[in-house]
């Protein structure tokens, strides 16, 4: 079974400050990990993914995420937040174990609010 947890319903940060949105996962094998962003009244937009290789993954809009296998985490980060980054962020995981589902499991989402 695969699952993902986003422990914070909401993250507040001041514009220009670094931001972190947390995600932890559980899989029986190795994970594929994804971050999506959802702006109001819009669908989910793909931000970045971890498949293999470097633990630090860079994505769209200056976001990056760090895969930490020992902590089973994939936290989303950005060095300097913008007000326009305010949105709902979803982490998703898919177990790489062969024969399993191709469908990722999404977290509950974290609302990021960046204050001017």
């Amino acid at each position: 079974a695969q699952s993902v947890a986003q422990p914070e319903d909401q993250v507040n940060v001041a514009e220009g400050n670094p931001l972190t949105v947390k995600c932890t996962y559980s899989v029986s094998g190795n994970p594929y990990l994804f971050w999506y962003v959802q702006y109001p009244n819009r669908g989910l937009q793909f931000l970045l993914k971890y498949i293999t290789g470097d633990n630090l993954v860079k994505g769209s809009y200056g976001f990056e995420a760090e895969f930490n296998k020992s902590q089973t985490s994939f936290h989303l980060k950005k060095p300097s937040a913008l007000v326009s980054d305010s949105a709902l962020y979803f982490c998703a995981v898919r177990d790489r174990k062969s024969g399993g589902s191709y469908i990722p499991t999404f977290g509950r989402g974290t609302s990021l609010i960046v204050h001017p």
């Binding site: 594929y32 669908g43 989910l44 793909f46 898919r94 589902s101 191709y102 469908i103 990722p104 999404f106």
Partner: protein, 115 residues
Amino acid sequence: EPEVTQTPSHQVTQMGQEVILRCVPISNHLYFYWYRQILGQKVEFLVSFYNNEISEKSEIFDDQFSVERPDGSNFTLKIRSTKLEDSAMYFCASSERQGSNQPQHFGDGTRLSIL
């Protein structure tokens, strides 16, 4: 950049009626998906579709639901005999391949309100 488009953006229906939600996936994509998001809750997988067949479905996708690709461009979700608890945002998504490292491209959703 090509987009997944969904119509209508908002559908209001009386309980017990049938609704059809429509999606036009990205043209060179071969795999199609429906998800739903009840207000304030997480995104839930409903069904995936490839080569005119359902590939996977969740426990939510019971006999009340069906999907169809009636022509070369549209992908529809039909909900028969709607219930109040069917009220949600329904998202269509598509991907070029089904490999598990492939990101899915989502439409902006249809907000379904059952009265």
